[in-house]
């Protein structure tokens, strides 16, 4: 082992992450578990920043920590805790399995030659100029491996259909209509969030940002409107345009993918000239769809249809 090169920051970050995870999963009380989970998300975002992955840090902070945390908080009252613990043999078996996995992983990872490891970074940076964007992560996401992202958007659609099917009527949500301060914050924050989303979207092509992070910011705006109970905010009613907007991301992505290949090029092969605009077009559509999808997941069910009266 070539001496202790890791800095104090790494040590603290690593131990903090592990400690928080152990605390999150170990505590009995559910409320505390959720709080720890959100903080854990924050620390992991910090970890990403340390590992020079700002895009991922943005996504982790917004989607991983904040939104998943909100989702869990929203659903907690409906999931009664059952704090019995598993019988002894299963616990022993699980512990053995976990330790075994850790030992194997540690051993394998230590064998990897961390210095000169073959990786796809070379080809990515080499072909970056042709990809139409300068931010390598967006280039990989929306050009080199655009097919992955297309299928991933389909995963989001599966989640939406699944959630709407599982609870035809969204669980009740008591909006804070009457609170002056909250409404004041709302009037200030919602436009700010929309601008932030647009900024992140535009930023994505040459700096950390992009469709997912912008979508998360936009979904925060929608959630604010939802929590404030603004009557005709998106998601209050199951209108046709809501459903259209939800699938817009996937539809636009496919349209571009096939449109491009109509003139004999391969699937998803953007003509070098319009590559940047096409990517921006796709990202814009994705941002709206992702924001609405995250909002639907938060709602946990299908909003009442236009004519239905119930909340």
């Amino acid at each position: 082992m070539s001496g202790l090169l890791i800095s104090a920051l790494d040590l603290v970050l690593g131990l903090l992450t592990l400690g928080l995870a152990a605390a999150t999963l170990g505590t009995r009380d559910q409320a505390r578990m959720l709080m720890l989970f959100v903080t854990f998300g924050g620390v992991v975002a910090l970890l990403w920043v340390r590992l020079r992955a700002p895009d991922v840090a943005l996504a982790e902070a917004s989607i991983g920590a904040a939104l998943t945390g909100g989702l869990l908080l929203r659903m907690r009252p409906m999931l009664p805790p059952s704090d019995g613990n598993a019988p002894r043999p299963i616990r022993a078996l699980a512990a053995a399995l976990a330790l075994g996995t850790f030992a194997a992983l540690a051993w394998a990872l230590s064998l990897v030659d961390w210095g000169a490891r073959p990786s796809l970074a070379g080809p990515v940076f080499e072909r970056l100029p042709e990809s139409g964007v300068t931010n390598p992560v967006t280039a990989v996401l929306l050009n080199f491996r655009a097919y992955d992202t297309l299928l991933e958007v389909a995963v989001l659609l599966v989640a939406v259909v699944g959630v709407w099917m599982l609870s035809p009527r969204a669980p009740a949500l008591t909006p804070l209509r009457d609170d002056p301060l909250f409404l004041a914050l709302l009037r200030l924050l919602v436009p700010f969030l929309c601008i932030l989303a647009g900024y992140l979207l535009w930023l994505g092509s040459f700096a950390p940002g992009g469709a997912f992070q912008a979508g998360a910011a936009l979904s925060a705006a929608f959630l604010f409107l939802l929590l404030a109970g603004v009557p005709d905010a998106p998601g209050q009613a199951d209108r046709a345009w809501l459903r259209a907007a939800l699938v817009m991301g996937l539809a636009v992505f496919i349209a571009v993918a096939v449109g491009v290949s109509l003139r004999g090029a391969a699937l998803l092969e953007y003509p070098p000239a319009q590559a940047k605009n096409l990517i921006l077009l796709i990202e814009a559509a994705l941002t709206v769809s992702i924001a609405l999808t995250l909002m639907v997941l938060f709602q946990g069910g299908r909003p009442a249809s236009r004519d239905g009266a119930d909340p």
Partner: protein
């Protein structure tokens, strides 16, 4: 739209058409069934066209976005992939036709077998798109994303029936599926760490039997074994398939389980085999687990109380057969490979036919307890015949496709000197025969018809026609045997590039 092109790219159509169809069916909810069925027919057609194209000897190959393989993602379809695609399309078409009637809005929810019939079509099309993408993809991470689409859509379909047990089963299926996918992804990460490559084709030349690669293989195969419910890890499958709505369980058993098993085959024979990672010991272990699956699954099928549980356990057994082939000849396109492919194809058709019959049995008799089955007039004769034909193929009696698959497996194990395997196959055949005949025998049990007046089967030619859909699926399972030389020839078309 793209058909006016010179040569429409059928493979891309099989993936994008269902996704687009799902989006459309989700938006236009009231016409969901019409859009859904139209999209399914389109996909079935394109997958058959792709099969014909590949059968002409030219394996399909395209790198997406024009980026060369290590950087971009490659779509590949060799003989096996094309056959699986065509099978998915055709079985899907059959199930969709059946669903067209059962999910029809005018039927009371109890008869529809689900509280949210509109959800079936988007979920089914997304599942279809995921499956087709999985069969075509030659990139490890892309396979992870397709696996995710397939399992999440499958969880949705399981929970579609609205019964409490279905929710618990779907929940367990989701957690198990997610753990399995992450295990698979861990393997991909390790391989990327060591070799810095995601594409299977390029990895083939890089991988060497080193500790990191061996650990990656173990973890990946463990994840996929968990997802395809290999014997000790099969606990989640029977409740999930048993309690799902009938057309959903047909899709789950016939198509979804095939995806992860296909992946195991693809990795074992294309990636781990040639690079020497697929050692004797690993193959033997998986083979033994497969043998356990055959015996345990068939035994449980014999003891099952309800028809759908019996059919679900027979799926567990069939998966066992597919894993049995791993330790056999390591050569690609060898006997074991052909046997497994034939078994997978025949099983898909027969199993989907059987589950659709469960739907008709549940519909007409109101229950599916095996002991209470009778030869009452309420059960149309075509259903009894379909169950018989499907049973023949599942047991593997000649001349069905199942028999050809088992015959090839038998030959491979005899040549490989695995006499234990032949004994297991024989025992499995006998056990599954007992299980299946336990059901067929009931159709000769004359019970005085219970006074409840027989529900008149829905009139109209379409209803009678749709009753014949399961019969057509079962017939294909049998005909696969008689016309076996053609699919076996297509299997020889190696993966290009």
């Amino acid at each position: 739209m793209s058909d006016a092109l010179p040569a429409p790219d059928w493979a891309v159509l099989t993936v994008l058409l269902p996704l687009l169809g799902a989006a459309l069916a989700f938006v236009a909810e009231r016409q969901a069934d019409r859009i859904g069925f139209a999209a399914t027919t389109g996909v079935a057609l394109s997958s058959v066209m792709l099969l014909l194209q590949v059968a002409g000897g030219a394996p399909y190959q395209q790198s997406i976005g024009g980026w060369a393989v290590p950087l971009g993602i490659a779509l590949k379809a060799d003989g096996l992939a094309a056959l699986m695609l065509a099978m998915t399309g055709l079985v899907g078409l059959g199930v969709a036709a059946q669903a067209l009637r059962t999910m029809a809005s005018e039927l009371p929810p109890a008869r529809q077998g689900t509280a949210a019939p509109w959800a079936f079509w988007p979920l089914w099309l997304l599942l279809l798109g995921g499956l087709n993408a999985l069969y075509l993809s030659a990139d490890q991470f892309n396979l992870y994303v397709t696996l995710e689409i397939v399992s999440l859509a499958a969880v949705g379909l399981t929970a579609l029936s609205g019964k409490p047990e279905a929710f618990t089963a779907a929940m367990r299926y989701l957690l198990v599926g997610f753990l399995a996918s992450l295990l698979y992804l861990l393997g991909v990460a390790l391989l990327y760490a060591r070799y810095g490559v995601l594409d299977i084709g390029t990895a083939q030349s890089l991988l060497r039997p080193e500790p990191v690669a061996q650990l990656a293989m173990t973890v990946m195969l463990a994840g996929l074994a968990l997802k395809s419910a290999l014997f000790p890890l099969h606990f989640w499958l029977p409740p999930a398939h048993g309690n799902a709505a009938a057309s959903a369980s047909a899709l789950l058993s016939a198509l979804v389980v095939k995806a992860s098993v296909y992946l195991v085959l693809r990795l074992w024979f294309d990636l781990f085999g040639p690079t020497g990672l697929a050692t004797e010991a690993a193959g033997l272990l998986l083979g033994l687990l497969g043998a356990g699956a055959i015996l345990w699954g068939s035994l449980q099928a014999v003891l099952a109380e309800r028809l759908k549980l019996l059919v679900a356990y027979s799926t567990v057994a069939q998966v066992g057969y597919l894993f049995l082939a791993l330790p056999l000849d390591g050569t690609e396109r060898g006997l074991a490979w052909q046997g497994v492919a034939m078994l997978a194809l025949a099983h898909a058709f027969a199993k989907s036919a059987m589950f659709l019959c469960c739907q008709i049995v549940q519909d007409r008799l109101g229950h599916d307890r095996i002991r209470a089955l009778t030869s009452s007039a309420k059960l149309p004769r075509s259903t009894q015949l379909t169950l018989a034909l499907a049973a023949i193929s599942l047991i593997g009696l000649p001349p069905s496709g199942g028999f050809v698959g088992k015959w090839l497996l038998l030959q491979a194990s005899l040549e490989g000197g695995f006499t234990l395997w032949t004994a297991v196959i024989m025992a499995g055949t006998l056990l599954s025969a007992t299980a299946m005949f336990r059901v067929l025998v009931r159709f000769f049990a004359a019970q005085p018809d219970d006074p409840v007046e027989a529900e008149a089967p829905p009139p109209g030619i379409t209803a009678r026609l749709i009753d014949l859909v399961p019969f057509a699926l079962a017939a294909v399972a049998i005909l696969l045997g008689l016309v076996a030389t053609w699919p076996l020839m297509v299997l020889q078309v190696g993966a290009g590039g």
